[in-house]
């Protein structure tokens, strides 16, 4: 029997048994729909998180120290202040390095403005380049400070912490934890930004930024030069471009772990961590992949359940049609014709189920992403896989019943009521 004829006959049989066909299709719809829903959700979630990170991406890497063996997550900085000015110079000289931005925390006892003193325990000492790299370089007023000048940049929360709001040009006094006071001019106010959850820590807390010179007074004798130099706990090394990030990261790591001051100063239980954005993205991605894998696992289970449902209904359907099979055999249909009919029917049901499953899954995925306020991302390749899987499920689940049906003895079948 040619394929077209069996298509026609199978289609008649499907239409002839509406309820049964609907139930079978429903099994596939649920299975494929679940796969698509979960995978869509996974892809959308992944897109949302990666998208958040990517907007703040620059070919930069964060250099810090951490306790050996600990997992360096974002914001795990604030380790040991071991990176000397000498190290900075050496790093700046490395091929492919565009800039090196030091970052250190300066302990304060308080800040005074307009006669009002407020206890703020720390400020950040860094270089103007920080504002270009950190992703929060949006000044609502003024601009970055200059190295060597007594100038400060405040973020929005810090500018509004006093009774009178601080504005550019105002003079404020910072008091170090040692008691020393520094009068400085506010040169810039940072615009407040939506907390992305992955930005620098304390973005929504009052932050005061000043140039490393004169604010950073954390000094140590550089083992390489013998000079007393400023030391920093965290560096941002910016590569010339994204292509070089990995190489630069390797060179930076190589330098820091061999003959750097940091190497000499670092307690043995600590290690230098060079974390590129890509590593970070890759880390997040691997977490998300695990997540997607888990979700796909659930989807596969629902597909298996769907398959069992199909097999069940196909088995019942074979029993139900025993007499018809007997008639067909009596009028000269071969076993393989019967097998073919059942398989074609299973494939058609699988196809229809997959298509509806994709629609249902896409809608459900869309609804879920809307509900969770995520950008909708539809994994097209998965839609293809789902159709193939749906058909395969139909065939595999239909195979045994079809084979059973094909082997029915026509004599018995014709006697069957």
């Amino acid at each position: 029997m040619d394929v077209f004829e069996s298509l026609r006959m199978s289609w008649r049989s499907i239409r002839g048994h509406r309820l049964r066909s609907t139930l079978t299709t429903l099994g596939v719809v649920i299975g494929v729909g679940a796969v698509i829903t979960f995978v869509t959700l996974g892809a959308s979630l992944q897109g949302a998180i990666i998208g958040d990170i990517a907007t703040e991406q620059s070919p930069a890497m964060a250099v810090s120290t951490q306790q050996a063996g600990s997992q360096g997550g974002p914001g795990a900085g604030g380790g040991q202040a071991v990176f000397t000015e000498h190290d900075l110079e050496q790093l700046r000289a490395i091929e492919g390095v565009a800039t090196v931005i030091p970052q250190g925390t300066v302990s304060l006892s308080g800040v005074t403005y307009g006669g009002q003193s407020i206890a703020i325990s720390s400020m950040q000492a860094t270089t103007p380049g920080y504002f270009e790299q950190s992703g929060q370089g949006n000044f609502s007023a003024g601009g970055p400070f200059t190295i060597g000048e007594r100038e400060l940049v405040l973020n929005e929360p810090a500018a509004t912490i006093f009774e009178d709001n601080v504005s550019v040009g105002d003079s404020i006094t910072v008091t170090r934890s040692g008691g020393e006071t520094i009068n400085a001019t506010v040169v810039g106010i940072l615009a407040s930004q939506a907390g992305s959850g992955f930005g620098p820590p304390g973005a929504s807390q009052p932050q005061i930024y000043g140039p490393t010179d004169p604010f950073s007074e954390n000094r140590f004798e550089s083992p390489a030069t013998g000079e007393n130099q400023r030391v920093y706990s965290q560096l941002t090394v910016v590569a010339a471009d994204f292509d070089q990030v990995d190489e630069v990261a390797e060179r930076v790591t190589a330098y820091l772990s061999t003959d750097s001051d940091a190497r000499a100063l670092l307690p043995s239980s600590y290690e230098v961590s060079v974390q590129t954005n890509e590593e970070f993205v890759a880390q997040v991605q691997s977490i998300l992949n695990t997540f997607t894998g888990f979700i796909t696992g659930i989807a596969v289970i629902s597909l298996v359940v769907g398959a069992i449902g199909i097999a069940n209904i196909m088995l019942v359907s074979v029993t139900e049609r025993t007499r018809e099979i007997g008639i067909m055999k009596a009028v000269g249909f071969q076993n393989r014709d019967i097998l073919q009919l059942f398989l074609v029917e299973a494939v058609i049901l699988g196809l229809i189920g997959s298509v509806f499953g994709i629609i249902v899954g896409a809608l459900a995925g869309f609804g879920a992403t809307e509900f969770l306020d995520l950008p909708f991302a539809f994994p097209l390749d998965w839609a293809g896989i789902a159709v193939v899987v749906g058909v395969l499920v139909g065939v595999v689940a239909g195979l045994y019943p079809a084979w059973n049906g094909a082997r029915i003895d026509p004599i018995e079948a014709l006697r069957y009521e």
Partner: protein, 249 residues
């Protein structure tokens, strides 16, 4: 029809030859459903098989209908030894050489009369145009030209049996095998079906009819009486009944 006339000319050759056939079932102890039966069905003959339940009628029908194989002996259908064929070849032979007419009609419930008649031709891989034309002709011939697009449940018992007769004729078989064809019909409808068989016989078709009713059996030229798996006796009917429309039964 031309093909039917050719069949008439070949009366010297047997349509079906049953040669010393035994069929034994092993149900704890061997049961001989058929025990050494030999029958020759000449082309164009009209034979009835009678016998009480358990006499081996059904077994004989299954064997001649290529649905089953004998334990011993040979069955030759249209020159082909059924016992030497594979299951697939047997199915092929059944489809092309045997036309079944059942007591319970055995039509496909979801197919129309036309599609039911087409079915055996689909199995034989005949072209769409060929089988559509043939199905039309056959339905006209059994008087159902108007009802071709009705499903079995929209047809009366007699009409259903006419559809199944048309289906039996589809591939122009060597033998029409009728199993109690009037068993589920009232006597008047039954008579009209018997008239149709008489017409088919007159047109040269070979008919084997299994029945337990004497007056139905007497439509045949010959009656074979089966008892306990053996041929008890053979009667030649001198004047076979030939009902005319609005017949005498």
């Amino acid at each position: 029809m031309n093909d039917v006339t050719t069949a008439t000319e070949n009366t010297n050759q047997s349509a079906v030859s049953v040669q010393d056939v035994r069929k034994t079932y092993f149900l704890g102890e061997p049961v001989h459903a058929l025990d050494g039966v030999s029958i020759e069905l000449q082309r164009g003959s009209y034979t009835s098989v009678m016998g009480p339940s358990g006499s081996g009628k059904s077994t004989l029908m299954n064997l001649i209908g290529c649905l089953d194989t004998p334990t011993e002996g040979r069955i030759v259908v249209n020159g082909q030894d059924v016992t030497a064929l594979s299951g697939r070849e047997r199915t092929q032979l059944r489809g092309s050489e045997i036309g079944f007419v059942f007591q319970t009609f055995n039509l496909m419930p979801r197919l129309t009369a036309h599609e039911n008649v087409v079915l055996p031709m689909v199995a034989q891989g005949r072209s769409r145009q060929d089988r559509t034309e043939r199905a039309h002709q056959l339905l006209e011939r059994v008087g159902l030209g108007e009802r071709a697009d009705h499903r079995p449940n929209e047809l009366s018992g007699g009409q259903r049996q006419r559809v199944s007769i048309a289906r039996a004729l589809a591939n122009d078989p060597a033998l029409i095998l009728a199993d109690e064809p009037t068993g589920n019909l009232d006597s008047e409808t039954g008579a009209s079906i018997m008239e149709l068989f008489a017409d088919l016989h007159a047109a040269g078709n070979t008919i084997l009819m299994v029945t337990h009713e004497r007056d139905i059996a007497e439509h045949g030229d010959r009656i074979i009486h089966l008892l306990d798996g053996k041929i008890e006796r053979e009667d030649v009917v001198d004047a076979p009944r030939r009902p005319t429309m609005g017949g005498d039964e």
